[in-house]
């Protein structure tokens, strides 16, 4: 009897300690390499071939944007305005490749919310320009900065480029440029601090956290990734302007509203970025590495199930095809009542959500919106 109680004690202690060790463990030497997917090599591919290169490119795009702004400021004319606008579009395009990585440094800074909240509050921006008294680091001012604020300041200040240039040459010249510079500097600073943390030490932390708990890198980034797809790509760029959550269209809620004709392009860029990430495609090249797709294929070989990675890619492609067939988002929404074609395209985008949020995570045993509660 004593023996039994001794064993109880030991086992209970093992049990009691076990949950604390989850997530911090070293990768186990695996006896069954053939069957096992190495989460760590996927993390390495994500960090070294996708995330860090994308941030690096984005950071250099912002430097170009800053340079274009300086050129415009020193010589306010239409050519320089157009040049500035092109730099803004280039940076906005690359942004679509980093927006989904709201983890680590980006998460603690609230990067996404500080860079791209729209619709922007043009009245607030105007009042800031007049009063010259604002603090862009306040969360209440997020709708007066980032790409959407630049959209207003570059595209929305006048009927046409001549009118915009006239305004920049007018009495508010100094205040306008001060604000424009504050917005760009804020974006540069945020981006540099995210990038420097990634290259500084977070990369190793990220890669080393290769366990399978709710706090492990894979589980967390997959959650962020799906959240991004659902909230920002599907709802933000399409659903909300279409009015699918409000009952009536809200065309002023499209991304880059003042520019008017690039919302669709930005959406497609975001869709490409999301699909590339799914397939582990290196940023800026055609190399493919370990990814959610290869992970699913590996799991599938055990499960004898459907080829989920293929199904997801096919749905991504269908969504792209449907959106490619549209004219500009604003045009679709304003010229059609109801905007049937865009609603149908939205449905194709929507169909990706259950594939990711139900089938993929269920296959990987990753819990969505991890809830810290007991199970059965």
């Amino acid at each position: 009897m004593k023996k039994i109680f001794g064993i109880i004690c030991i086992l209970v202690i093992i049990g009691a300690c076990s949950d604390d060790s989850i997530g911090e463990g070293e990768p186990n030497p695996s006896p069954g390499e053939g069957e096992r997917f190495e989460r760590s090599s996927m993390l390495v591919n994500w960090a070294d071939n996708i995330i860090i290169p994308a941030y690096t490119e984005f950071s250099s795009d912002l430097a170009t944007l800053k340079a274009s702004l300086e050129a415009f400021q020193s010589d306010v004319n239409e050519t320089n305005l157009i040049e500035l606008r092109l730099s803004w579009i280039a940076a906005y395009t690359t942004w679509q490749h980093v927006a989904m990585f709201e983890i680590g440094p980006a998460e603690s800074l609230g990067y996404q919310l500080n860079m791209n909240i729209y619709p922007t509050d043009s009245e607030k921006i105007e009042s800031f320009i007049i009063n010259d008294n604002y603090d862009l680091s306040l969360s209440s001012n997020r709708d007066a900065k980032g790409f959407p604020a630049l959209d207003y300041l570059i595209n929305g200040l006048g009927e046409n480029d001549a009118a915009i240039v006239t305004r920049y040459n007018g009495t508010e010249k100094e205040a306008l440029f001060a604000y424009l510079n504050s917005v760009v500097d804020d974006m540069v600073n945020l981006t540099d601090s995210v990038l420097s943390e990634w290259t500084g030490g977070y990369r190793d932390t990220f890669v080393a956290n290769d366990g399978a708990s709710a706090t492990a890198s894979v589980d967390r980034l997959v959650n962020d990734y799906i959240f991004y797809f659902e909230k920002y790509l599907r709802a933000g760029k399409m659903g909300i302007p279409l009015g699918v959550f409000s009952g009536s269209p809200l065309p002023q809620n499209v991304e880059a509203y003042y520019k008017g004709d690039i919302s669709k392009t930005l959406f497609l860029e975001g869709l490409n970025a999301v699909q590339n990430f799914f397939n582990g495609k290196s940023f800026g090249s055609n190399e493919n590495g370990e990814s959610l797709a290869t992970y699913l294929n590996k799991l599938n070989s055990v499960k004898n199930g459907e080829d989920l990675a293929l199904l997801i890619n096919e749905q991504f492609d269908l969504a792209r095809e449907a959106v490619l067939g549209l004219s500009t988002f604003i045009g679709e929404i304003e010229n059609n009542n109801p905007p049937t074609d865009m609603l149908l395209a939205y449905d194709e985008v929507q169909k990706v959500v259950p594939l990711l949020k139900v089938d993929m995570v269920s296959a990987m045993s990753i819990s969505i919106d991890f809830v810290d509660a007991d199970g059965d």
Binding site: I22, N28, P31, E35, A216, A235, D359, S362, A363, G375
Partner: protein
């Protein structure tokens, strides 16, 4: 027959096993309540949410805002009194009521374990668990008995046996046995567990776990009953539950089951435990050993108690089979799934998008579920038909209060079960507000496309 009744029901047995059970049960529950409270789960699960999912017929049971803490406090206090055996009868009644109230507040948190605690505490109301080694027995001479009728101890064993055996029966299905599902999904993701982590991805191990799990559940009640196999069986109990504790987030339950299984041991084991406790607290055990035998005051009372207990067990034995009255696949429709010891049988995930339609104009919009539900609630709602229906009615009320007219609610719901590709779960052309909750089959559930054979 007569001798069996004599031996297992009427015969006087030592009260020590039941006393030990009472003490451990009380302490385990006390610890569970403290743990629940300290994790901030009262706030997170019962105060933060704006909406709560009710069991059919129990929609009057709701959290009480900040006073919900009061229910937990009362419940915790009752556990302590139960453990001490102080004013036992009223304490266990209060525990049963408060604990059950807590469980009824929101079915999102339904766990078989909680149901087990509820019915066990109900059973304990009728057991003389305070006649020995309790404050009641210490203080009041005529409440102290060294012997109690055999059925009082055996009913606890029977309930434990039912839990295990039925959990084993539920595993006799083709997904569990021949596809090793859902363990095949769950185990590989635990690759970072020390020692065994690397093995969990191996198919043979997943099958081994599935089959031995089913075998364990079916055999363990009998192995515990037979004296010769009992010590080994108890070792198995410990191994099994510690393993499940390591692999899955199941909280206190493994410990509760390990401790409960002690009741199968003979009196001398329990007496030794009590002697140990007595030594620490310097209690004179001799005072309880009065050689008296517990008898019901009146024959009527005895008959009443036996009537309640027999009905209780009759329900326990038949209720898990109520699913046979419903058409369709049980795992898919979940009609008759709860309260039946179906534990860890499914990896089921869903996604539900609700569409609010104006019945007059046809104008529509989608609902953002996070406006109304916590992530946990949304997750549970998305694959259980009764949740979906209740939520649809809630949405109708909400939007009609907001001024919308003639609201209809449709849902686009996809569910994946045990690794199958997600498919349509609810008929998307059904206005859910036209459907009422009942115990009848929900014919708006899209039939399961595959087949799962077995019990």
């Amino acid at each position: 027959m007569g001798s069996i009744i004599e031996k297992y029901i009427k015969a006087p047995v030592e009260a020590a096993p039941l006393a030990v059970f009472r003490i451990f049960f009380g302490l385990m529950m006390l610890f569970s309540i403290i743990r629940f409270w300290s994790y901030g789960w009262i706030d997170k699960l019962y105060i933060q949410p704006k909406f709560f999912f009710s069991y059919y017929g129990f929609d009057w049971v709701k959290p009480l805002g900040i006073y919900t803490y009061g229910i937990f406090f009362i419940c915790g206090l009752a556990t302590l009194f139960v453990a001490l055996g102080y004013r036992y009868r009223i304490s266990i009644v209060i525990f049963f009521l408060s604990f059950t109230y807590i469980e009824l507040m929101d079915k999102t948190t339904y766990l078989n374990h909680y149901y087990f605690i509820s019915i066990l505490s109900f059973l304990m109301i009728f057991l003389p668990a305070n006649t020995y080694f309790s404050i009641d027995a210490w203080k009041i001479k005529n409440k102290a008995f060294q012997y109690i009728p055999a059925w009082t101890v055996n009913s606890v064993k029977l309930l434990l046996g039912i839990v295990y055996f039925y959990a084993g029966l539920a595993k006799l299905n083709s997904d569990w046995l021949f596809r090793a599902m859902p363990l095949k999904i769950w185990l590989p993701s635990k690759f970072d567990i020390p020692f065994i982590g690397g093995l969990l991805g191996q198919e043979w191990l997943q099958y081994a776990f599935s089959w031995s799990g089913a075998l364990y559940d079916l055999a363990i009640p009998f192995l515990l009953l037979v004296k010769r196999t009992r010590p080994y069986a108890f070792l198995l109990v410990i191994t099994f539950h510690v393993l499940t504790r390591v692999l899955f987030p199941i909280g206190m339950f493994p410990y509760i089951m390990i401790v409960s299984a002690l009741i199968f041991f003979d009196t001398d084991v329990h007496q030794r435990i009590l002697n140990g406790v007595a030594k620490i607290f310097k209690i004179d055990v001799g005072r309880f050993r009065n050689n008296k035998e517990f008898k019901y005051l009146t024959p009527l009372r005895r008959k009443l108690v036996l009537g309640v207990i027999s009905t209780f067990f009759l329900i326990q034995l038949t209720f898990p089979f109520r699913y046979l009255l419903y058409p369709g696949e049980l795992f898919w429709t979940e009609e008759g799934y709860r309260f039946s010891w179906r534990v860890m049988l499914m990896e089921k995930t869903g996604y539900a998008q609700f569409k609010i339609v104006n019945g007059d104009t046809g104008r529509w919009f989608y609902v953002d579920n996070s406006d109304f539900l916590t992530p946990f609630q949304e997750k549970q709602m998305a694959f259980q038909p009764d949740f979906i229906l209740e939520y649809a009615h809630f949405l109708k009320n909400h939007f009609e209060k907001d001024g919308h007219k003639n609201v209809q609610v449709y849902v686009d719901c996809k569910v994946s079960l045990n690794g199958r590709l997600s498919t349509e779960f609810i008929d998307p052309n059904i206005d859910l507000t036209s459907q009422k909750e009942s115990f009848l089959h929900k014919n708006w559930i899209t039939p399961f496309k595959d087949e799962i054979k077995g019990i």
